[in-house]
Amino acid sequence: MLGIFEFIYEMWPRLFYHLQITVSEIIIAVASGALLSLLCMLVMHFSPLLKRCIESSLVLLQTIPLFILSPLLILWLGFSQIAVIAPTALMLVFPLTIAMYKGANATPKEYIEYYSCLGYSKLTLLLHVRLPFALPALFSGMRVAASTATIGALASEWAGGQAGLGVFIQEMRRNYDIYGVVTGILCTIMVSACMYGVIIWFEKLFSKRYAFSRAR
């Protein structure tokens, strides 16, 4: 145990460099995955025909182990963080879109009937009625996304990254440095837990503002 602390002390600048790269990749991937999912949800909400296309595409996408796209993206785009961020973001689109769509449709029927009879447009209903009611489901999806994003980022780094915790663990493994590997794993767990904590903090914030009880 003491050896790990010694290792962290000695290797801190290098470890921090890889850590910050992984964290930035996860944050960008979660943000872009959430935006893409919101877009998919909006299209699915407004077009029943496109809903079927998107649903089938997402199921197909989910069957591909997306981190294997990393080497391909490197060949196409050259070495860049996009090769890690893009597969990670795509991994989140399926659970987030489904959570958002199901959440938006979980609005009590009476609210939709009442406010649409009062003449509010589909867009107003979506923004003012459906989305606030979808927040609990959305945050359940975000919790899943937070842990998936860490796994996705590490696997993508492993498959084709230039830096990040995935690369760090791989380097340490090649050197048969057991402290290095354990440190890398501990950092990964810490990043995953922090991401989960951030989502819980946001959920707490929104649950107060939008008066819903948080799932435990």
């Binding site: 009476e110 009442y114 406010y115 009879c117 003449g119 003012h128 606030p132 939008y210 008066a211 819903f212």
Partner: protein
């Protein structure tokens, strides 16, 4: 003049015919109390006129926009009382003035979860009253209110109706409300509306 009619119309509940052909005309400041035994279709009729329920068959004619106070409040749980009213009332409405009149001045910034049933009912009453639509439908608007509150709300309704000019149909079980509202009486009999 407000005209509503459903020709060759019918509405069934669980395959039991409940309502058929309904036609009425209302002057622009008419006040009507609709009464009758429980389960006869009073609330259903209001929902059919409002549009949240649809007739199984028939040609419907409704020549003006309608607002409706349902029995369940349907307030947004995340909006305060003022925000809920701002969402549904026309701009420039003096919401605080009306909230003060119904004794809710202290509850302006509270959310529905912090209100009693009676307070929620007063908010939903104002939501409908302040909509400024030509026909307002109220389903048991005084069900959770004490006598004093009922008197305040009835006077406000009469006052606003005389000032702005809109027609109202109010479902109630209490005969005293008819006298309080100085309203004419309608009833549902044998699946039809008796005006």
């Amino acid at each position: 003049m407000i005209v509503y009619s459903i020709v060759s119309g019918g509405f069934s509940h669980k395959e039991e015919p409940l309502l058929e052909n309904v036609t009425f005309q209302l002057q622009s400041s008419s006040r009507v109390v609709l009464s009758g035994p429980s389960g006869i279709g009073k609330s259903t009729l209001l929902q059919l006129i409002f549009g949240s329920k649809t007739w199984n068959v028939g040609d419907e004619t409704r020549d003006c926009p309608v607002h409706f106070q349902p029995q369940n409040d349907l307030l947004f749980p995340w909006k305060t009382v003022r925000e809920n009213l701002v969402f549904t009332t026309p701009p420039q409405t003096e919401i605080d003035h009306y909230l003060d009149q119904v004794g809710l001045a202290h509850a302006v910034n509270l959310c529905p979860g912090e209100l009693s049933q009676g307070m929620k009912q007063r908010v939903t009453f104002l939501r409908t009253l302040l909509s400024r639509r030509p026909l307002l439908l109220f389903d048991e608007p005084f069900a959770n209110l004490d006598d004093a509150c009922t008197k305040v709300l009835s006077s406000l309704l009469i006052e606003e109706q005389n000032r702005v000019g809109f027609a109202t149909v109010i479902v109630t079980h209490n005969n005293r409300h008819k006298e309080l509202l100085e309203a004419e009486a309608w009833a549902i009999e044998d699946g039809g509306l008796r005006c």
